[in-house]
Amino acid sequence: MTPASLEQTRAAIKGIAREEWGRVLASLVGQLRDLALAEDVLQDAVVAALGHWPRDGVPAQPRAWLLQTARRKAIDRLRRDANFQAKRAELAVLHELDRQAGQDDLDESIADERLRLIFTCCHPALAEAARVALTLRTLGGLATEEIARAFLVPEATMAQRLTRAKRKIKAAGIPYEVPEPDLWAERLGSVLSVIYLIFNEGYAATSGEAPTRGELCREAIRLGRILAQLVPEEPEAAGLLALMLLHDSRRVARSDAQGNLITLEQQDRARWDQGLIAAGARLLESALAQGSPGPYQIQAAISAIHAQAPSATATDWRQITLLYGELYALQPSPVVRLNAAVALSFAEGAEAALPTLAELERQGALASYQPFHAAHADTLRRAGRKTAAAKAYRQTLALTRNAAERRFLEGRLGDMLG
């Protein structure tokens, strides 16, 4: 084999390993009951694949091959373990599994246990940053170094974060189970928010930044797709996937060549990905048809209205206002109320939104939230209240650091004073 084609083969093997990682790892954790050990032996199996497959060809059942090889690596490790006596029962079970596997170990016959794994990785007893890292490592099959680069932390820091989390799972007895019905809603919420956090981390990255950060969007969508397949009866899982697809349709249009963010109304809509918009909308429709709306489905619906509007001015703001009202009923936060007020200002005129904005200002919860002051200033300007608008623009400027945005706001402030 020439060096170039060997390189290609190795890349292809890494691709297969990455694709199968989550499923094989979940099966191994079920058999070994030790996440750290399962991960180590699966890594060994991938190394073995990189040695064998270029010579012998990719096996017909790569998932089964990886699982069996990893299990044998586990047997070797446990045999070498100083604590051999204590591990005898474990070894007996592994030998039995290995014997059963035999020739008819087929990819399709390996049960998909990823749901258990994802609930373990997203357990609320783990710190949020650890949940995110573990989910990407175990379910997504990303290397520690890739995760570190995406989150802009040194590799050693990320490695330590992962090790600590795995140690806590083992020592604290975090279950490797699908949660009981009384915990289901809360735990599913934690899984959904971890995936959405991964997406937003990538979405916040601009074109100037490390490309791996943007990759997080694709990775979150992949995880969202896996989850939606694993829990088809949960429309919020499909809602989250739809929301991510719809946001992702605008990703390339939302920053310029210098990495400055472009607001929704100023984006070039020809650059929006119509394929993703159609896929997101289809998914959302079937989710909503299940008759159990939640925050992700509602946010996806709002995103779909923007995505399907021919222009910023031809947006169905009335429907968006209603949807924010629904969202506020489920998540009564001041930020949702602010969004509802802004939508109302476009649906019924700036004047209509001013009482809500004034009340939000009185309550003070958004006092240091720059987007509140920016929206307040803009609404006052559109309502023709120059003095109040000027005051709000000054408050916005006090909280704005981005140079381009400051220039824009100073221009607006000048208009109000002129």
Partner: protein
């Protein structure tokens, strides 16, 4: 008077422990290779604000005691409870440190905090989720906080 500043869990002492240990021994244990699906022991450390603790003789105190007794009875009947005790208030605490072979003894707790350790339970549970579910039912969880710590097992 010993209960001049009564603790929220002092009535644990009044609970009948008879028959408890025999029930634990008689319980079937899973003897597979898989240690982690065996029972684990968790210590639930009960923290609360002593200054806000109800005074003895008040209806609030009576209610709290009833809640603790009901909870303790339930976890005993389910053979989940291994141990549990209230502690005297933090004013009775002594902190001991040995530095350079010399014992240094000081009054009070190591650090000033808003919540003080007031008692504990040791529970035997199948996993952290079960321990969290019991910890959430400890009456002080509604006003203070419960720290759930696995007890270390040496291989």
């Amino acid at each position: 008077m010993e209960y001049a500043t009564a603790r929220w869990v002092h009535f644990l002492r009044n609970v009948d422990f008879k028959g408890y240990h025999s029930s634990i021994k008689g319980r079937p244990r899973w003897r597979g290779y898989n240690r982690e699906s065996c029972q684990m022991k968790y210590m639930c450390l009960i923290y609360g604000d002593e200054a806000k603790h109800p005074q003895p003789g008040t209806p609030e105190m009576g209610q709290l005691m009833q809640d603790y007794m009901a909870f303790t009875k339930d976890i005993q009947e389910k053979s989940v409870m291994v141990a549990g005790d209230p502690l005297q208030p933090v004013a009775t605490a002594t902190t001991v440190r040995v530095r350079g072979g010399k014992t240094d003894t000081t009054d009070g707790p190591f650090a000033e905090t808003k919540e003080q350790l007031g008692g504990y339970y040791i529970l035997e549970c199948k996993d952290l989720d079960e321990a969290i579910a019991y910890a959430a039912r400890i009456p002080t969880a509604a006003s203070g906080s419960i720290e759930v710590r696995p007890i270390m097992v040496f291989d």
